[in-house]
Subunit: 282 residues, 2 copies
C-alpha cells in the first residue's frame, strides 16, 4: 500500500511506540516538538519520527492524525487539529468515555475530516503480540492496514463510533479499578493495624493477592494520567445508568499518588499506603 504521512500527537511512551510501528511499515511519521518535553524529543528521535516543528505544520502535511495523549487532553487536541482546517483522517486512540469519543468525532467531522475511534489494550508495542489496537468507524479497516505486520495488532471492531472506546473502558475499569481497590484495602489494613494478619490470611486463601496488591508500587508513576482516565470510566458507567462510584473512588486514590510521576525509584508499599492514608480527604 502507498506510504502515508501521519501526524503523531504526541510521542509519549505509547505514542512513540505506535510511531515506531508505523515507521517500520514504511510510513512517514511527523510530530511537533513545539512546547513538548526533552523526553518526547528523545523518544521521537529513537522511534524515527520526524520533527515538523509546530502542530500546524505536522497536521498540514498529514494524511492521518493519530491522537494519543492523556485522557484529559483528548478534546483540546481535537479542537487544535480542527482549527488547522484538517480534512484528512483522524484517529483518536485515547482512553476516553464513548460519549467523549463522540464529542471528539463531532469536532473532527464538523471540520470536514473523517473520524475513527480507537482503543489500545496492552503496553506500548515494543514487542510483538502484546498490544491490540481496536478500531471502529467507516475508515477503521483503512487505519488497521497501516499497522499491518507491525508489533501493533490492529483490528476492526464491529459497532458504531464509541465501541472501541467502550471496550477500552471496560478493560481498564477492571485493571486500574482493581489496582486502586487493592491499594485502598492495604491502606485500611495498615490504619487498622491488621495488615500483617491480612497478608497471612491472603497467603492461605488468596495466594496471589499480596503480590497483586503491591503492583501499585510499579504503576504509581502512571497515576497522574490515570486520574482523568478514572473520570472517563466513571462517566461511562454513569451514562449507562450504572454506579460511577468504583472509579470515582479509584480516581481519588490515583490523585493521592500523582506525586510519584517523576519518582527516581519505585516507591515502597509503605510509601504508597502513607500517601493514600494522608492524601485522600484533604
Amino acid at each position: 500500500m502507498p506510504q502515508k504521512i501521519i501526524a503523531l500527537l504526541h510521542p509519549g511512551e505509547m505514542g512513540a511506540a505506535l510511531g515506531a510501528c508505523l515507521v517500520g511499515c514504511g510510513h512517514r511519521v511527523l510530530w511537533a516538538s513545539e512546547g513538548r518535553s526533552a523526553a518526547s524529543l528523545t523518544r521521537a528521535a529513537a522511534a524515527g519520527i520526524e520533527d515538523a516543528g509546530s502542530l500546524a505544520r505536522a497536521v498540514d502535511a498529514a494524511d492521518l492524525v493519530l491522537s494519543v495523549c492523556p485522557p484529559h487532553g483528548a478534546l483540546d487536541l481535537a479542537e487544535e487539529v480542527a482549527a488547522c482546517g484538517f480534512d484528512g483522517l483522524y484517529l483518536d486512540a485515547n482512553a476516553i468515555a464513548p460519549d467523549t469519543t463522540r464529542e471528539v468525532g463531532a469536532i473532527i467531522t464538523a471540520a470536514k475530516a473523517r473520524f475513527v475511534d480507537g482503543g489500545i489494550i496492552g503496553p506500548p508495542p515494543v514487542k510483538a503480540g502484546v498490544t491490540r489496537l481496536y478500531l471502529c468507524g467507516a475508515q477503521a479497516k483503512e487505519v488497521a492496514e497501516l499497522f499491518a505486520g507491525s508489533h501493533t495488532d490492529a483490528s476492526v471492531l464491529a459497532g458504531p463510533i464509541g465501541a472501541a472506546s467502550a471496550l477500552k473502558v471496560c478493560y481498564a475499569a477492571w485493571n486500574k479499578g482493581s489496582i486502586a481497590l487493592l491499594a485502598t484495602i492495604r491502606t485500611l489494613a495498615q490504619i487498622e493495624g491488621v495488615d500483617a494478619a491480612l497478608l497471612a490470611e491472603w497467603a492461605v486463601s488468596q495466594p496471589d493477592l499480596a503480590r497483586r496488591s503491591e503492583s501499585i508500587t510499579t504503576q504509581s508513576r502512571k497515576a497522574w494520567r490515570w486520574i482523568a482516565e478514572m473520570d472517563e470510566i466513571a462517566a461511562s458507567f454513569e451514562a449507562a445508568d450504572l454506579p460511577p462510584g468504583f472509579h470515582q473512588a479509584a480516581g481519588e486514590i490515583y490523585r493521592c499518588l500523582d506525586t510519584f510521576k517523576d519518582a527516581a525509584a519505585t516507591p515502597s508499599m509503605e510509601a504508597i499506603t502513607r500517601s493514600i492514608g494522608r492524601g485522600v480527604r484533604k
Copy 2:
C-alpha cells in the same frame, strides 16, 4: 475443659455450621425458634442444636452468646440480649465495621457482660481447613478454646476490639467488591454492545476473568445480605478517611440482585446483567 452452654443467634447457614462445630466439641448449643423460619428449624435440628423456644430462655441459660446474623441485624440483636440482663460472654462474629463492633461492645459491656470481637473468613465450616474465626478482646483465648479440634480454625488476633472486624472488612472488601465490579463491567459491556469483544480480549490477556466475572451467578442468592455488608465496609473506609465509593457502588449492585434470594435455580449471566442494567438508578 468443662462443657459450656452457648446461645446461638441465629442458625443461618453460617450459624448452624458453627453450632455443629461447638456441639461436636461437647458443648450444649441452644437456639430460639420463636419467629424464625422453617429453614432455620431444619438446620438447627440437623446440627444438633436444642431449641430453647424464646431468645430470653436461650440467653438466660447461656455462658456464651454467639451472634451470627446478617450485618444489618447485629446492633438490634445485641440490644435484645442486653435487655435480657445477660452478664456472660458475648461474641459478635458478624461482618460489620470496626465502629459498629465497638457500638455492639458498648451495649454488651453496659449490661455487665464481657465482649469478644470475631471475624469469620471462609464458607460455613462444614469441612476442615477452610474457615477461620479470628478473635480479639480479653476473653478471645477462652472463646477460641471452645472450638478446639473442630472444623472452625479459631485463633486469637492481636489488637483491640475492632481488629477482628477490620480484618474481615479488608478481606470481604476485595472478595465482594471485586465480584460487584466485574458484574458491573459485564453489564456495561452488554449495554455498549462490546461484551463478546471483551470476553475475546480477556481470553487473550486475562484468561481467568470471564469465569470470575460470572461467579456472580452462583453468589447472587446471597446478594440480599451483602447489601448491608457493603454499607459496613463503606463506613469502615470512610471512618479511616478513605473513599467509601467502591463499596457504596457494590451495595447498589447487590441491591439490584436481592430478588435472587430465594431463586430456585442459579440465574444466567444475562439475567444478572439485565437486573443490574435495569435496577440501579430507579
